[in-house]
């Protein structure tokens, strides 16, 4: 029987980690992620997991230790936020380049300066080209579900890439949510045992290998990078398969995105994470009044499900992309909109694209702000026009 818990987001991550029972967890505290490792430290101390937990001296060391443990053949996890993720930067590329299936919770928080501890997506968006798979979670339930699936995706022989599961700092991490968790036997049957692939383990005494060596000037670096891209592309299929398998186990299925009210819609709002809850609650009312507008909540940002997404988005007259990060390129808007614009380029019909930047440094996305955007979208003339300049929701004058 699944258990229904009322827990904060960070506890949902810790609960998933308890069931995953990784061999090694190397962590460093950072707001708002800290509560994940605190809860998990209790599990370690109580002996309910078999994990060796290392309280290292920085996030750089945390990811380095994870890489070492994963290269030694272990199932390995960590968690971080913001500056912590930034400090891991160098090692993020190493983890992906060495094809190590590390799974990490990233509790989204803005990046300094000025210092700010609240939510935006600058941290994970900055890491979008590091070779990590990125799954986004609207609430604590999705965080839990994504973490269990992340282990399977990362360890899949066709993939072998690290996975980052993102969730909004404070808004979800520190709020109590209803979370349905699998019973332990079911979760563990779904997770299965980690089988280290031959040739991937440093601790294979019968067949020792060297990994990450200097490739020389005319070596295999280029090919290794291309192989990573191919693995990323294969991950698309694997993510779908595992999302479907998870549906069988839990009753909750996962794909690349989730739709709300898009049947017959002319305008599609695209967003990530917790903002989708606020947007959906407004859309409910707007749709009851007959507005032809719906929501596409993107779950998989890396790998980029471009082909399918382009086909779907080309069906609308207007696509409004909500970005909780900016590219700081001089008013070009957010990274999500940039990706979508590039994706739509090859389509015969290109919908009008509007980019709403919102919520930087934890600025609230209120229902009133969503309404402001929806009113503007509703008032736009029917004739499509080129991409509109970026809007900044909730920016003080």
């Amino acid at each position: 029987m699944p258990r229904i818990l009322a827990i904060v987001g960070t506890d949902a991550a810790a609960e998933a980690m308890r069931q995953i029972d990784p061999e090694v967890v190397a962590v460093y505290p950072i707001t708002p992620q800290t509560a994940v490792v605190e809860k998990f430290a209790e599990y370690v101390a109580d002996g309910v997991v078999n994990t060796e937990m290392i309280n290292v001296e920085s996030e750089h060391s945390a990811m380095s230790a994870c890489i070492g443990a994963a290269a030694a053949g272990g199932r390995v996890m960590t968690a971080t936020s913001s500056q912590g993720l930034a400090l891991m930067w160098e090692e993020l590329y190493v983890a992906a380049g060495l094809r190590l299936p590390i799974v990490m919770t990233n509790v989204n928080r803005s990046l300094s300066a000025p210092i700010n501890i609240h939510c935006d997506h600058s941290d994970s968006m900055g890491a979008r080209d590091s070779g990590w798979i990125q799954l986004y979670s609207e609430n604590a339930q999705e965080l839990y579900d994504n973490l269990l699936q992340a282990v399977r995706i990362a360890e899949h022989p066709e993939v072998r890439l690290p996975v980052m599961v993102c969730v909004d700092g404070f808004i979800i991490s520190h709020a109590i949510d209803r979370v349905e968790v699998l019973d332990d036997d079911r979760a563990r049957a779904f997770l299965g045992d980690y089988v280290s692939l031959p040739g991937y383990s440093l601790l294979d005494a019968a067949q020792p290998v060297s990994i990450g060596m200097f490739d020389g000037l005319y070596g295999y670096y280029y090919e290794a990078k291309r192989a990573q891209e191919e693995a990323m592309a294969r991950a698309l299929t694997v993510i779908k398969e595992i999302g479907e398998e998870y549906r069988q186990v839990s009753g909750r299925g996962y794909g690349f995105w989730e739709e709300y009210g898009l049947e017959g819609a002319e305008t599609c709002v695209v967003a990530l994470n917790s903002a989708c809850g606020t947007i959906r609650s407004r859309l409910k009312e707007w749709r009851a009044r007959g507005a032809k507008i719906g929501l596409l909540k993107l779950r998989v940002f890396r790998p980029w499900p471009g082909e399918e997404l382009a086909r779907r988005l080309a069906e609308f007259k207007t696509v409004a992309v909500f970005d909780r990060a900016v590219t700081l390129a001089g008013g070009k808007g957010g990274p999500l909109c940039g990706e979508i614009a590039a994706t739509l380029y090859g389509q015969a019909h290109r919908p009008r694209l509007v980019n709403y930047v919102y919520g930087l440094g934890g600025r609230d996305l209120t229902q009133a702000l969503v309404d402001q955007a929806l009113e503007e979208l509703a008032a736009m003339p029917a004739v499509p026009e080129p991409m509109l300049p970026v809007r900044y929701l909730g920016l003080h004058a």
Partner: protein, 262 residues
């Protein structure tokens, strides 16, 4: 003669302090600004550089120049300031997590470089700001939120590290000994080369609560009992040194500093 209050260095509108009741940071801040006043430091010639942590928020209250930086890197930022503007008084405020755990490498090399900075490291034996996790100075076997059955690792001694790495001035004080602390900070600022003042400080909210010292009084008493003047400490037998630490000026030498050598 009226004693220095240091009030002219404080943003009075930011008071009262945001730190928890029983925190030692207010005492250390008081000692710092009194030291500034007694040395006659000019606000525009003084830069306070902070990292991240409870003590790193001290710059919220100061009217000197201030650069609020990233976790663990305050000394690296300060090195840049001092290299380009050697005339400035550069005071670096860090906690034990910031200064000697995540920032341990910078600490080591600032001391080795013997650059004329004054580091005031408030050691409250845990990561206070994030809720009391184990840090590099948490004593072995003590409890934190990430070492709930006791810390299996040993603690780092920041003074010993700075002394070994080549700092010109190393002193240890406590938040219990406010007057002496002010005098140490004055010596540290005056001394050319890298100076460290480590301040053993109470954190009843987290560290104390997990280690049977949940009141400020209990923590201050603990610090008072642990702190032994250097001369007395040196005469103790090895087993007697367990559980206490020497306070006062531990190292004072005049090796040429970075700017002099450069």
């Amino acid at each position: 003669m009226a004693h220095a209050t240091g009030i002219k260095y404080l943003k009075e509108k930011s008071l009262p302090l945001m730190w928890c009741p029983g925190c030692g940071n207010g005492i250390v801040l008081g000692a710092l600004v009194r030291a500034f006043e007694e040395l006659g430091l000019k606000k525009h010639e003084t830069v306070v550089v902070t990292g991240i942590g409870c003590w790193g928020k001290a710059d919220d209250y100061l009217l000197t120049n201030a650069l609020h930086t990233t976790h663990g890197r305050a000394l690296a930022f300060a090195t840049g300031i001092k290299a380009y503007q050697p005339g400035l008084n550069v005071v670096v405020l860090m906690g034990d997590g910031d200064g000697v755990t995540i920032g341990g490498n910078h600490f080591l090399h600032a001391a080795r470089r013997n650059i004329d900075l004054t580091a005031v490291v408030v050691n409250n034996y845990n990561y206070g700001m994030t809720g009391g996790q184990v840090s590099g100075t948490t004593p072995a076997e003590h409890y934190t939120t990430t070492t709930v059955y006791g810390n299996p690792e040993r603690e780092l001694d920041p003074c010993a590290v700075a002394a070994a790495a080549g700092a010109n001035y190393v002193a240890r004080g406590t938040a219990y000994h406010g007057w002496e602390l002010k005098e140490m900070i004055k010596e540290a600022i005056t001394k050319k080369g890298f100076s460290l003042v480590e301040v053993a400080s109470p954190c009843p909210t987290h560290y104390g609560r997990y280690n049977e010292m949940k009141t400020a009084l209990a923590m201050l008493r603990w610090l008072k009992e642990k702190a032994v003047p250097l001369k007395t400490y040196e005469q103790l037998e090895e087993p007697e040194k367990e559980g206490c630490f020497p306070v006062g000026r531990l190292v004072s030498r005049d090796a040429p500093d970075f700017n002099a050598r450069y």
